[in-house]
Symmetry: C2
Subunit: 423 residues, 2 copies
């Protein structure tokens, strides 16, 4: 890994959507076809893009049972335990409706309601991601969403991976469809004969999925447009170079555009990590991906103090941050922008990907400046509640009319006046 | 107003963005120019679109002082009192960071942090909207946002309305710029020599503003793409036809595409409102707008019961809902989708627009199914906090590696393994 002076700090903006007008056109056509032709379009696109002719889009109960029994029971247990931890964490995010009253009889409040229905997109391709199923579905279940629909592109055998189906069942999904790409996003946004229209679509996907989510935003809600994964480590001389290197590589193996950044006060550690990354890289099965990621988006910055290090981290606003210092907790107050903050040497990033309980769907490319991990709030919405009293209207009515007239909105003012006239 | 059987129920989807490819191209060009040319582009566009050659974009302290002293002091007092009520309501939305611990030494939590900077767009044109200033700015102030930037298009005299500047000052804005349209959105998203880059842009605007917000979404965050305003009233035979009619018209005067819907169990009330709307309409200064809105998007549905009425409301998911029945509070539990819920005959919708304290930036066009009123959460974000312990890693490490290997992510597994090997 390159060791670079902090004056050469670069942010991690690597938008998934540069120069994508061509793909956008394709996506618009797909969405339009799904909207107008429904299932017929889904069958066609699944044949074209996934290379399989399906006779039905929905996964059956017996397919799910079969998937679970085909898995190593130990693995089913691990997935279930992870699900339990994720549920425990997300339960803490549940919010109550509230109200307060004024002495004049006014009651004001905020009512929290779960969304009626959500769609969870799970990417397919070469690997299966049961952890993404848990992370997308469980917050929705905890929020109280009644209809949770999972979509994922089928393999050439017309099936979804057993681990994905098992995780869906463990997480509490009732309906699973074998569709992927922009066509799946269209189905969830508009609804088809088979696929219910949903109010929100969450989960990462490829460029077509990302563009389709952006297009349907407004018809339904979406979570975020996720970019390639990234990790930053803030470390002092006490940190373990082997651990840090392994953690940096855990993100580098995701994607050639993944980023891995070390910010440290220690030149010795910087040199050690640089060498250790090289040697660990050589042994990785996905080393072609990781080598490219480390070469293009791997960097070590030397800083003069941990305070300066925290500033650098805030400028980067990383998806994952590990703090590997003698007293990591003392730096927590200085960190303003990071998706997930891992404290201390045992808090390896994959602990959060799979098992600790927090969510692994996190803001990337510096969007931690303004975005949050996927959470229960994403599956609920609020309504304001206003019960104005007769006394309050008598006391404040004229002020309200005056304010409305200042804005030139006479009908607003008269809605108050008709009531005052009656008093 | 038309009285229509509920079997002919239509939803209120009136997207602001149909057939807008041409405007989108113009917006893309504007954004690109602002990004590359900065202030120069802002001066040019302000000349072209607002018809004024400015020498500086930022409003000065003395311009603000002048504006306040030019206003009726009573009006300044009313705006200040409204601001105080809005602050009181939004203070209740503030959230704490939290954590919990497990016996194995693990600590998991969620850290809540305000955004660093936000931009608030306030529409200009023929009228001034000081209430929009309060509603956009105060939640950001309460959230703890340090840099709040307000933008609004100048009049031909190169000034912003006095009431807008007064409200900005009362709400706590430090920096105000005389820019509008897509160019203002570009300035807030990318930053220019004068205008700071912000992390989130909120506030309603015309089609160019809406399209520009959609385009920059991801570079920064945005609140929502707002459509024309709407009101639905759920009423029984006890309701006052004059009040309801005045409230329906208060929304109808906003825009020819505004919607006004009455859902009632009472045919007598339906007839009375239909006639009363007609007679009140005749007297309105903005009657041309309101007549068109009532003609195209005004409708009365007769239902058999208030339960059925609540179902109809949930299908419509109105921006504003008034419940005008004998016992409005008893229906609150049945309402799932509405931006703001006004209970009882004194809770006229303009009470919420200006004074009660809740926010008037609300989800429109049925998006209350999945969106919330503008609130303090919109100006904060969360970070997950994970402190895994040695004991937890020892006990769960092998499960975590196994999960990672199930997904084919060997480097993830090894990040755990290097730590287990040392034990």
């Amino acid at each position: 890994m390159k060791i670079v002076p902090v004056t050469e700090l670069k942010n991690l903006e690597r938008s998934v959507e540069q120069n994508t007008e061509k793909q956008r056109k394709a996506v618009l056509e797909i969405l339009q076809n799904v909207k107008s032709k429904g299932d017929e379009a889904l069958f066609e696109y699944t044949k074209t893009f996934d290379g399989v002719s399906l006779s039905s889009l929905e996964v059956t109960k017996s397919e799910i049972d079969e998937a679970i029994s085909s898995l190593d029971p130990k693995m089913v247990e691990i997935i279930s335990e992870a699900a339990e931890n994720i549920r425990e964490y997300h339960e803490k995010q549940r919010r109550q409706s509230w109200f307060f009253t004024r002495e004049d009889g006014t009651l004001l409040g905020q009512k929290v309601t779960p969304l009626d229905s959500v769609g969870v997109y799970v990417p397919g391709g070469t690997a299966a991601y049961p952890s993404s199923v848990l992370m997308g579905v469980i917050p929705a279940v905890v929020a109280g969403v009644e209809e949770i629909v999972l979509v994922s592109p089928p393999g050439k055998d017309g099936k979804l991976p057993a681990a994905v189906l098992a995780a869906a069942s463990i997480a509490g999904v009732k309906r699973v469809f074998k569709i992927g790409g922009a066509q799946a996003i269209g189905a969830l946004a508009y609804g088809t004969e088979s696929v219910p229209k949903t109010d929100k679509i969450v989960g990462p996907g490829n460029i077509f999925v990302a563009l389709a989510k952006r297009e349907v935003f407004g018809v339904c809600d979406i979570d975020m447009i996720a970019g390639p994964s990234e990790i930053a480590v803030l470390a002092d001389e006490s940190a373990n170079a082997r651990y840090i290197s392994a953690d940096l590589l855990s993100q580098a193996e995701h994607d050639p555009r993944s980023a891995a950044v070390l910010v440290t006060t220690s030149k010795v550690l910087a040199e050690a990590v640089s060498m250790e990354v090289k040697s660990q890289l050589a042994e990785l099965p996905r080393k072609e991906i990781a080598i490219e990621a480390i070469r293009d988006h791997g960097v070590i910055y030397i800083v003069n103090s941990l305070e300066e290090g925290a500033d650098v981290i805030n400028q980067i606003a990383p998806e994952h941050l590990e703090i590997m210092t003698k007293d990591p907790m003392s730096l927590l107050g200085k960190i303003k922008h990071a998706g997930a903050i891992f404290l201390g040497e045992y808090s390896s990033e994959p602990v959060g990907d799979y098992f600790a309980g927090s969510n692994h769907v996190l803001p990337t490319s510096g969007t931690a400046r303004f975005s949050s991990p996927l959470n229960v709030d994403d599956f609920t919405k609020k309504s304001s509640v206003i019960r104005y009293s007769e006394q309050a209207l008598k006391e404040n009515g004229e002020k309200i009319s005056a304010f409305a007239r200042l804005e030139g909105l006479e009908a607003h003012a008269r809605a108050i006046d008709v009531r005052l006239e009656d008093k």
